[in-house]
Amino acid sequence: MKTIWIITKRELNSFFDSLIAIIMIVLFLGFSGFFTWISGSDIFLVGQASLRSFFGIAYWTLFFFIPALTMRMLAEENKSGTIEMLLTKPVTDRQVILGKYLATIILIAVALALTLPYVITVSKIGNIDAGGTICGYLALLLISAAYASIGLFTSSITSNQIVAFLSALFIGLFFHIIFQIIASGMKGFFGQVINSLSMTVHFESLSRGVLDSKDLVYFGSIIFMGLFLTEVSLSRRNAYN
């Protein structure tokens, strides 16, 4: 656990040293703030004291920003060869992965925590649904965790950051909209199966304030599979036929 935390701190430092974190937080707040308060179907247009519109926007902004955060994590180490140095230290593959993963989650949690003024503002304007809002934030954190694990995986299979970024977006796009689009044109059992693969369906069910064990298992599975495949792809360097 201590080892993981050391790696996490090191990653966080490198985020903040290279201004990536600042740029990401500013862009995230800028985009979501603009569409939550000023333009589009913003809170004043909806006319309800709820953060639904913010959750809808953040769902999209996080989808684009998370691959940008995770793309350099392992790809850069692969390219510069520092991955060998890192892994010959007395740390396991799993600790390296979890450390880097945790750093991403913490950065996203900080970005989300900075939107707390939205909550305070809306709760001053009207009667906000506390349970629904907390569930909405939980849903945002869970989709971020899911996309971060996908991003970490694509970062581990290549030494090119752009490739890592684009393949994370490509895989993410399936969960984000494509499964839902396919399912809406299908009927019966297969339609249900593909529909339940869609991140949007689970996100909406959670962000309206209902904590369903199905949704938690779904997010847990994606996070687990992402991290598991990352570990496998790291351990591939020792593989022989």
């Binding site: 593909i194 304030g209 369903d212 298992v217 599975s221 022989y240």
Partner: protein, 125 residues
């Protein structure tokens, strides 16, 4: 590690994850955190259900094979009706009818004031 071992581990893990997801589909629980409890039965509903003297039959008309975004409504309704049945000690009985099965059932639905709704589904093109 052998390459064959890696691929077998991946397949094993995928199967486990799929099984866990199927199980969670069947054994799920829900906690409602909305302020008004929008997705749970209210106390008034529960009291009415408890005091029912005669059996109540609810008939729901749903076509089969609806696209999932509409089909989910029938699932949600079914969940709710099951809960009604449990809370009323079996006084609430419900049945789901597919009006497309026969002309007679369609007539019956029409007689009960259910108008058919057109839905466009693109199958093969």
């Amino acid at each position: 590690m052998k390459t064959a071992k890696i691929s077998s581990t991946i397949i094993l893990m995928t199967v486990i994850v799929i099984i866990v997801n199927i199980l969670s589909e069947n054994y799920s629980f829900r906690l409602d955190f909305t302020e008004g409890g929008e997705y749970t039965l209210s106390k008034a509903t529960r009291n009415i259900l408890k005091d029912l003297a005669k059996p109540v039959t609810i008939t729901a008309y749903f076509s089969k094979d609806l696209p999932p975004n509409i089909g989910n409504v029938s699932g949600n309704l079914k969940d709710m009706l099951i809960e009604y049945g449990n809370r009323s000690n079996g006084m609430v009985v419900f049945r789901f009818v597919n009006p497309n099965e026969s002309e007679g059932l369609e007539q019956e639905a029409m007689k009960n004031g259910i108008q058919p709704v057109m839905i466009n589904v693109r199958e093969k093109d």
